[in-house]
Amino acid sequence: MYEHDVIVVGAGGAGLRAAIAADEEGADVAIVSKLHPVRSHTGAAEGGINAALREADSWEDHAYDTMKGSDYLADAPAAETLCKDSPKETIKLEHWGMAFSRDDDGRVSQRPFGGLSFPRTTYAGAETGHQLLHTMYEQLVKRGIKVYDEWHVTRLAVSDEEQPEDRTCHGIVAYDVQTGQVEGFRARNGVILATGGLGQVYDHTTNAVANTGDGVAMAYRAGAPMEDMEFIQFHPTTLPSTGVLITEGVRGEGGILYNEDGERFMFEYGYANNLGELASRDVVSRAELTEVNEGRGIEDEYVHLDMRHLGEERIIDRLENIIHLSEDFEGVNPLEAPMPVKPGQHYAMGGIETDENGETCIAGLYAAGECACASVHGGNRLGGNALPELIVFGKRAGHHAAGKDMKEAEITTGKVGDYETAEIESPVELGESGIGEDVVADGGAAADSGTATTGSDLVQRAVEDERQTIDHLLEKDDGIQHAEIRERVQKSMTQNVNVFREEDGLKQALRDIREARELYQDVFVGDKSRTFNTDLLQTLETRNILDIAEAITLGALARNEFRGAHWRKEYQERRDEKWLKHTLLSWNDGRPELWYKPVILEGENKTYEPKIRSY
């Protein structure tokens, strides 16, 4: 068994920042990640980092934009923390050598982005995430922080008290992809989940193949609730054939959207009369799909994004890699022709419920970055607000886990204080209820601590459970394979739980997920080798996809209103009297339980009164 003070799971922006922060505080910290750090999907982020760096800007304005963009479902203490900390964390990256784009006076460049009242998106060409990820990994190397790369974390070792709020996380169990070994990692102080996105729940996504929501699912099964899972951001400009993202920076610099008739539909059809193409992402995504649904799409599938009028010089200076992406993945040279674009799954606003220090309701368990929900983004994330979230909350979680004295969080986690429980309306059974005893890959239910008395015993117990699961999957030699199950779920989610959602479709998705769960009981791994077995790895990930797909759909069905990225056909209004609250889903040992807690709109100096979100 390996042992460290702090274990960070995942090595993208949030994980690296958390590890560096824990190291700064003198903790013995290690990262366990299924990918080598530089392979992380933070590297694909293009646009930039929102930070109020200039005299004419302020963190208060940034917070106002963020709260408005969230459609008043972000918690003000989290949003304000993001906006207050972002400037110094962004400059910290500059001090670490990050290659930001520069103005003529040598200062870092900033540009306009959707939903922002000031051009505060600090960028490095259209490859900000790549520069950020590599800069941070450099710091990791400098500090000699230990990385266990190509180790896939399969479950958390959490004690089994009845209430999740009473449980403690003692470590993790991980599978060494290279050798097939299953080992325990004891965390003396805490475990920080930084596993990123969950886009593989859908079949058209900007996310990497590795983004299967592992951290969210394993925390959920260990007792930490998932929050606001129904809020999925669909990015309005992805390439139709692959889902590769074309940055909002194209529109920030002046790119224009046209329908088949050559109309600038954002204005012509009144989707956003003031901001046009720079309206919030959900507004633009719905506008594009409406154009397609009403017969004004190109090939009934997409619209055009044109940036030719910006001129070659400006495009090469600020958006050069867009030329390569469009050529390599769509075969279109954007200097000569408009790029085809359509909405694709891009970002999960929801995730593991945390407070503004990254703590979950389970002692010693933290989450930061896309897998966490503090909540900064509420119903919709603004472009340029994901990267600052990684560095701000990654750092806070790292500091807190390392034992730094920090101000107590204002946000509460778990079932405390003012919460309400709710009935789940579902046409089928959910979670594990109704499934036989032969559930094979329960990757992270709270370990039955039995006679385990110490943290190490508990980790060891979890390791043994995992070894059994993996042996079973490898020994079983018939049944169904994960690719089939995964594909069914992805198709159903894209068809039924997409930009436009209606009751019948959501119920159909729940039925499809149920069927996939039953099939999963009979899953087997074709590759019997212990060496670099990606078949096994993907089979384990598929279990996570099932739990997450179910949570997204349940939340979408329960929330009968239209807020942020969540649109319901039957309910075309935001209903503040009923829905200024977060959706929470607890695993409850296999019988999912739905509950709500109120959103916090009271900030440090003001209350963010819900207004109509028009752009």
Binding site: G43, A99, G106, Q131, T135, E138, V244, E484
Partner: protein
């Protein structure tokens, strides 16, 4: 079709009397799974056979643990072609429809994670940004040369990572601004100068293509030297640091080993002018030595 035709699933329980609910459920489940599996195989085979356009891939296979794969071999896969299909798409299709044990690294699918550098028809390329339509058939897909094969198309990257980390690959300066909100200034020209060098995605295609690296295990290699270039040329680090960096690069297994064959530059999927960067560092080193002479 594949050489890896999946075996038909035997239905062992068909003749037994099913009595309990659990057994019934299990039997039903198995039946459904079989149906799905059979249907899938038929569909896949049918698709491959009837498609106007299939691509023939010859893929390197090796697994030290599996007796029939201990001796390296090539498997044939016929993959139905779709407009825009890449090598990575074809490998994923073959894996998901023919042989789930076909192993390769991949993640982002958009040429930024650097996981899927492969040896395709005799040159180093990223699987995700290589269009099938640009290649002649049969398409030979092999792991990167000059690296140990772990399994199938996966190679051991440790040596590459070690070299990358041997050049102090992190920003160092003695003159940071005092204020935590105060940035260092950098001219647009200087940022432009280092821009290409910062695009490296650590795919190791360059290292694999380099004859010198193949013969000298200690040679830093093009990617690591480029990483050092990125810092040596960054005006924010200052002159002292530049001296230090040139010393590291001038070591026996540093820049002077490069024989300017340009193979690294040719294969770089991010178009980084690696050889030029190495040449420029050699010139800097000479200038530097003359200064102290």
């Amino acid at each position: 079709m594949s050489t890896q035709v999946p075996e038909q699933v035997e239905d062992e329980s068909a003749s037994e009397t099913v009595s309990t609910g659990k057994q019934k459920r299990d039997a039903k489940k198995r039946e459904r799974a079989e149906r799905v599996q059979e249907q899938r195989e038929v569909e896949a085979a049918e698709k491959a056979r009837t498609a106007d356009d299939t691509y023939h891939l010859k893929v390197f296979r090796y697994d030290p643990e599996v007796p029939e794969k201990q001796e390296p071999r090539f498997d044939d896969f016929y993959v139905p072609y779709k407009q825009g299909m890449t090598i990575l798409d074809a490998l994923m299709w073959a894996r998901d429809h023919y042989d789930s044990s076909l192993t390769f690294r991949h993640s982002c699918r958009q040429a930024i994670c650097g996981s899927d550098a492969l040896f395709v028809n005799g040159s180093q390329r990223l699987g995700c940004k290589t269009q099938l339509s640009d290649l002649s058939e049969p398409v030979r897909v092999e792991p990167l040369p000059h690296a140990d094969v772990v399994k199938d198309l996966v190679v051991d990257m440790e040596h590459f990572y070690d070299q990358m980390e041997a050049v102090e690959p992190y920003f160092q300066t003695n003159s940071l601004p005092d204020g935590e909100l105060e940035e260092q200034r950098q001219t647009r020209e200087n940022r432009e100068k280092v821009k290409m060098s910062t695009r490296c995605i650590w795919c190791s295609a360059c290292m694999s293509s380099c004859n010198i690296a193949a013969g000298d295990n200690e040679y830093l290699g093009p990617a690591a030297i480029n990483k050092a270039y990125r810092f040596a040329m960054d005006e924010r680090e200052g002159e002292d640091m530049k001296q230090r960096r040139l010393e590291i690069l001038e070591q026996e297994h540093g820049v002077w080993r490069c024989q300017t064959q340009f193979s690294c530059t040719e294969v770089c999927p991010k178009d980084i002018p690696l050889t030029e960067h190495i040449q420029e560092l050699k010139r800097e080193a000479i200038k530097n030595n003359l200064k102290f002479w």
